[in-house]
Amino acid sequence: MSGPLSNLRVLELADEKGQFCGKLMADLGADVIKVEPTGGEATRSVGPFLDDTPDPNRSLSFWHYNTSKRGVTLDLESDEGRGLFRRLASTADIVLETFAPGYLASLDLGHETLGAANRKLIMCSLTPFGQSGPWRDYQSSDLLHMAAGGQMASSGYDDSDVPDAPPIAPGGGNAWHTGAHYAYMAIMAALVHRTTAGEGQHIDVSIHDACALSTESAVASWIYRNEVVIRQTGRHHAANPTPRTQYPTKDGKYVNALTGGGRLDPAYVRTLAEWFDPHGLAGDLKDERYRDPEVIADNAQHIVEEVLANFIANRNADDVYHEAQERGFPWGAVRAPDELLSDGHLEDREFWTEVEHPELGRTYTYPGSGAIFNGSPWRIYRRAPLIGEHNEEIFGEELGLSPEKLARLSDGGVI
């Protein structure tokens, strides 16, 4: 079985802003050719590195975001480089680019030129603020997007945990992920349209717009009630303070245990009592008076903040998580990334993927795909390309350049 995008060729001219979108297409089967500047893409200098040794071919960040792609190097500012890119673009379905607005057009490689030569071409420009507007030429970063997009205004601490805390930008580079998800969606929509209309088009995606969309009901709270939400530790922003949901465990971790929202009724308290009792931690929850919903409502603070918090404080996070779920409670352990490797559920779904790095003689474990496509797999096909790894294969074997010509282009700094 081949992936759902296996009939497509993508040219990726992308740094941190677009490499994840390219990975999604490559892992779903598209032939994604990463076109890098001759020294390699700047994202190769982002760590962590293999054995903490900085090197363009040892960036683990680059490894993760560039799986299943092939890689060539090309100097787009040289005439010959542009000529080769145009030849490649005439064979492509999609060009994904993250340059500053107008840069490719200034090289005569914009959608107008490439699209005229290849009517089926879909060109997606994924940029910080879009192709026009007062902030078009502003510089950005993951942190800057998290500030302007509203992520930071919604994330942070209760005063009781960290007095006077700043807004906190969640880690992991999620501004880029959010932009990439929407870019992927737009590209797929253009592809579906192309299957009936036969023609490609240009797509202008703004990462700032994408981030500004991703804070659930914060925008609705303003539009419909003129309320601005406050930040709370490990749980939803809200117009007014809500009870905590994150409790420390015996092993120094945390459990997210939501008991609010009308959940606490006699059956719930009885389940808690039967669960806690064998550990000698049921407190007074077995008391018959908790058959009365009103008594529960009057004592909610005691039940949750004393008995339940004390139970969690005396147990390990993973035990609380699984025991709660087996009782139908949607609770979870706050797990660190390295604790996911031993999760049997992920093993059952064959999530972890062994990826071979032949030049190192090693195989490493990568996170796989978020969904199982039962008719056309989503999976990692190969490790990220080394710098210029497929120059010969693509320029030589596929475009038909002679070995002499390739050597000359290489000496001239074109590839």
Binding site: L60, S155, I203, P248
Partner: protein, 442 residues
């Protein structure tokens, strides 16, 4: 002349509710799909989710949720008791005329209604079926229940956000409902594209929690390749790339940089903050010039990243003394003009009312809602030159489109629609009807 839309002629049968699923189908609707949302008032719990977003002066009921309006625009709504014999028959007929079915129930619900993938295929052989559950439909914990913050905790996302030595700050909303919704839409689009090319449908079994894990790639590889533990001193480093006084390591937000933090701005209100980040020595020198080259900033030690990383605490205090007298928007303009990376921390009010770029991009255009009046809806972050995504109808009233869907699409005689309201197929017999339902049955 209006332009065509990418998913014109594509019908999506939408069983989703609350946030993640409806956020997916909202985008399919904006791209031109005909989305039919199937609801039943007796177990409905999505129309008032996301906190109270009913405007003051309106009674809270099915048709007055502001967040619902924004999350469910571009769809039709039908009400149908899918467990009744007539409801079962009608839902099967709707499947047979749809290209895609999407749901975000727990893993066994649709199967229990007799609508598992095999049964869907019997009705429509090339159906694209996207399920969006917390853990997926297979695996030993498929029955586990999640909502956004719990999926985030289990996936490792929560852990990566916060200050060292403090509890995880996590995400202040259901990031994995929003993102899960994007994966739902991406799944339907990918499935439809694949079907258009090959003629084959499929079941796409999405796990919201596992999709979250894939967003932690570099942190996971740092462990599987380098053996580095995730729980370590100085991690996570708050808004910085590195916590002062701890080993210099990459912390999965991108390149190392200093300064790289949030700073208070004038007049010191709850969201009066801006962020500034210098990714090179040149960017730092430009910031120093902009600050007026004060003596504290021109010391040799700060000329290089290593020195600035060492002295971040002092540098951050001094920068904040400079920012705290300035308005966050004016400061952003000054910095960006000088080639220094800066942005304001923006609340929802800031984004909707004060952000000139979002205004330029038409991100908040109003649409008339029958109960709520003219209200701004959030628009698409992508502009497709030939097939624009457009919010074309507000969130539907519950069961608003029963007549349109069952009579016009399925060809149900009008008297059958009327009798279906009497026998509880289209609305619970004992529940008061909305005026538009009575109108529909005339």
């Amino acid at each position: 002349m209006s332009l065509p839309r990418a998913l014109q002629g594509t019908r999506v049968l939408d069983f989703t509710w609350v946030r993640a699923g409806p956020w997916a189908t909202r985008w399919l609707g904006a791209l031109g799909a005909e989305v039919i949302k199937v609801e039943w008032p007796e177990n409905e719990r999505g129309r008032q989710s996301g906190g109270n977003t009913t405007p003051r002066g309106h009674e809270q009921h099915f048709n007055t949720g502001g967040n619902f309006n924004d999350t469910n625009c571009n769809k039709l709504s039908v009400t149908l008791n899918v467990r009744s014999p007539r409801g079962k028959d009608l839902i099967r007929r709707l499947v047979s005329v749809s290209e895609a079915v999407i749901e975000n129930f727990s893993s066994r619900v649709l199967r229990s209604w007799g609508l598992g993938y095999e049964e869907l295929c019997a009705l429509r052989p090339d159906i694209v079926y996207v399920s969006m559950s917390g853990f997926g439909h297979t695996g030993r914990h498929h029955h586990y229940k999640t909502f956004g913050p719990v999926a985030q905790a289990i996936s490792g996302l929560t852990f990566l956000s916060g200050l060292p030595g403090k509890p995880p700050a996590g995400w202040g909303w259901s990031y994995l409902d929003d993102t899960g919704g994007l994966y739902g839409a991406m799944g339907v689009l990918t499935g439809i594209y694949h079907r258009n090319v090959t003629g084959e449908g499929q079941h796409i079994d999405l796990s919201q929690m596992i999709a979250g894990i894939t967003l932690n790639g570099p942190a996971i590889l740092d462990h599987t390749v380098n053996g580095r533990p995730s729980r370590r001193e100085g991690f996570p480093p708050g808004n910085r790339t590195q916590w002062p006084g701890t080993p210099v390591l990459y912390n999965y937000r991108g390149p190392q940089a200093a300064p790289h933090n949030a700073y208070r701005t004038h007049p010191g209100g709850y969201n009066d903050w801006c962020v500034i980040a210098c990714f090179s020595n040149g960017e730092w020198r430009r910031l120093v010039q902009l600050m007026g080259a004060p003596a504290w900033a021109t010391v040799d030690e700060y000329a290089d990243l290593a020195g600035r990383l060492r002295q971040q605490a002092q540098i951050d205090r001094a920068i904040e003394a400079w920012t705290s007298t300035q308005d966050k928007y004016a400061l952003t303009r000054r910095c960006q003009k000088a080639g220094v990376r800066a942005m304001p921390v923006q609340s929802s009010e800031d984004r909707v009312e004060h952000d000139p770029q979002l205004r330029h991009r038409d991100m908040y255009l109003a649409l008339e809602h029958p109960e709520l009046g003219s209200k701004k809806l959030q628009n698409a972050p992508f502009k497709l030159s030939s097939t624009p995504a457009v919010n074309h109808r507000p969130g539907p009233l519950i069961g608003q489109h029963n007549r349109q869907v069952f009579e016009d699409i399925l060809g149900l005689p009008h008297e059958d629609l009327v009798s279906g309201y009497e026998d509880g197929t289209f609305w619970p017999v004992n529940r008061p009807r909305y005026p538009y339902m009575t109108e529909m049955l005339k």
